[in-house]
Symmetry: C2
Subunit: 354 residues, 2 copies
DNA sequence: GATTTAACCGAAAACGTTTTCGATTAACAA
DNA sequence: TTGTTAATCGAAAACGTTTTCGGTTAAATC
């Protein structure tokens, strides 16, 4: 099946390619009659413009690129959903790539997207990205760029993210207000800014409530694709501190789940013996027993907003309008479920001396 | 920053565009010396071919399209990961679209992908797709097409899927061999073939083991994004049959999870009072208490295999080699966890009269 | 009748490649 | 000298659009 071109329509109707093109695009210097003839034939032949030719001529691909660390993440899969929705509304298509948390791959993928002539790029940085030349290259090519979630503060472009520090602060403050005092933190790796910020929020909440910060209560989790880290660190924590810990605030829900697992296996009751507070509101957190209190990040909103801003920049660039980079902080919310709610008849006993 | 073209390199070196192109592509009729000059300058100017022009000329986009019902599914997110991996190995990019289980949208997206000139299309059909003209259109355009997971048997193209019927049969047979006799089935909607096949496998397993099939033990779940369906149907089941049911085989893990929730809320012990067997091995199934027995579908393998076959067809088409459509059945496996393993001191009591 | 105006159309250039085919030169053989 | 061969290069066409600009008619105006 040979694809039909303007030329074929033109020959069929004995008019020029120019006129056919104009008719299809609604130019005013085409008579009503010829316009109708063209439209009818185009319809009949199921004409679709060759997008390579259009892109070449118009210097536009109508494609944006999206790079994320991993598709297999509840959070990112929802972000993608948000992006796809907005892209479709703008008649755009989305090329998806995953960096697998590797800097080199991320860099290569940026080059691929640039060579493909995408009109814009959305990216959430890998945990191992510490240099940003590849992002600067995008900017130098004058391709709209937006960082979301895992961002780099020093790169000059629009950004969409959450206030990790405040969210963590709120969560820990909530625990404190509930009466928990000896609150541990299972933190993430050092690299992504998020884990640093969440740690800082945790620390600040303690200090603001006159609870001394104890580094011995901070445990490091570096793997975030499995719950073993939470499990093993829970074991370690009980070895280190016995049953003196009131609550744990974890960098992510998965870690909390690992702790729940450990508690299940060892007859420790959540939340009566140990309260838990996670982060990200993974799907399973509403499903596990006890249901997990957590921080809602609104990933769909993050995806939507990021895409909206990017398309706005693309449009402005086309119209030679000035672009000012936006920094949007998506508000987070605490989702209170059972894991942080000690039962009435078993109030918090352990209150350490302040 | 103006992007650099062959023409610019040619002018700089006072040679023709032709020669520059040939030098870059390693043609033999370019002298060693000029070749070196071209390569050096191209390197220095960071030349990258304009992909629109290349695509126009070569009639190849180096892009494949992928349509899935929903990105926010553990299963699909892993399939995507598999596809992306293989695509990258083949120097291909992936345009991702989600149909949101809507036929009209799926159809429109096919048109969009065709108009974009993708070199091939991978698709898992929406639950509401009952006509296949849009797929026939792809075939008529001579664009390699592959259906995976949710397939249409009547469409003449390659397919990658699992044997739902056999997997269900195996799961239910396992339950029977474990001593469970009165086994209910929470099935899915009528539309996707998968849910029919799983139901048929369930039925066959009963019959082959001389257990009468009782339609009253089959409950219909139509929503598969939430666990309410499992929860509510569990309630209904206990109202209908009291505690006479041994086990439930569910169309998907999520439904089992809903049942677990209901049991949790009503003091019913899983698996001692009721055994459960799910389908798909969602991440959370290894996390929930009790851990859920289920069927592993190997989504990564499905993604990989689908992409491999598609790229093979694309290659063959380029070389004018004959293409024979493949139907690959990815083997499934039972994942036995606690939800189907009644404890020793609480053996199965209820054995109905055969 | 001459001139302006409006309506309609098409030639041609441009976007940046790839590839065919012929041209040119130099070296070599007859 | 003529003819052959190998090595190197470039003109030009083609891929399918979009858009500028000028041309041709016919109607309207003076």
């Amino acid at each position: 099946m040979r694809t039909v071109t303007l030329k074929q329509i033109a020959e069929e109707l004995n008019i020029s390619v120019t006129t056919v093109s104009k008719a299809l695009k609604g130019y005013s210097d085409v008579s009503k009659e010829t316009k109708k003839r063209v439209l009818d034939l185009a319809e009949r032949l199921d004409y679709t413009p060759n997008s390579f030719a259009v892109s070449l001529r118009m210097r536009q691909s109508k494609i944006i690129g999206v790079i994320i660390p991993d598709t297999v993440h509840y959070f990112f899969s929802i972000v993608i959903k948000g992006i796809l929705k907005v892209a479709e509304q703008h008649d755009y298509m989305v090329i998806l790539m995953q960096s697998n948390e590797k800097f080199e791959l991320e860099k290569k993928q940026i080059d691929l997207l640039l060579s493909k002539g995408v009109d814009g790029i959305l990216i959430s940085l890998s945990n191992n990205t510490k240099r940003f030349d590849h992002l600067q290259k995008v900017i130098k090519h004058d391709i709209p760029l937006l960082l979301f979630d895992k961002i780099a503060k020093t790169v000059n472009c629009s950004k969409v993210y959450i206030d990790d520090r405040k969210a963590a602060y709120d969560a820990v403050t909530y625990l404190i207000n509930k009466g928990y005092r000896r609150i541990a933190h299972f933190r993430g790796d050092l690299n992504p800014q998020n884990s640093i910020d969440r740690f800082l929020g945790y620390k600040q909440a303690l200090l603001d409530n006159n609870i001394p910060f104890d580094p011995k209560l901070v445990y490091m989790c570096n793997n975030n694709t499995d719950f073993d880290d939470g499990y093993n660190n829970a074991k370690q924590m009980f070895e280190d501190h016995g049953h003196t810990i009131d609550a744990v605030f974890t960098i992510t829900d998965l870690i909390s789940i690992g702790i729940i697992k450990y508690c299940d296996d060892n007859g420790i009751k959540v939340p009566d013996d140990l309260a838990l507070f996670g982060f990200s509101n993974w799907f399973m957190s509403s499903v596990i027993n006890p249901e997990l209190s957590t921080v809602e990040q609104h990933p769909f909103k993050i995806g939507e907003t990021s895409a909206e801003i990017l398309f706005d920049e693309i449009k402005r660039k086309l119209n030679d309008e000035p672009i000012e980079y936006k920094k949007v902080v998506i508000p987070t919310e605490l989702v209170i479920r059972k894991s942080s709610e000690k039962s009435e008849n078993n109030p918090i006993k352990k209150v350490i001396n302040l």
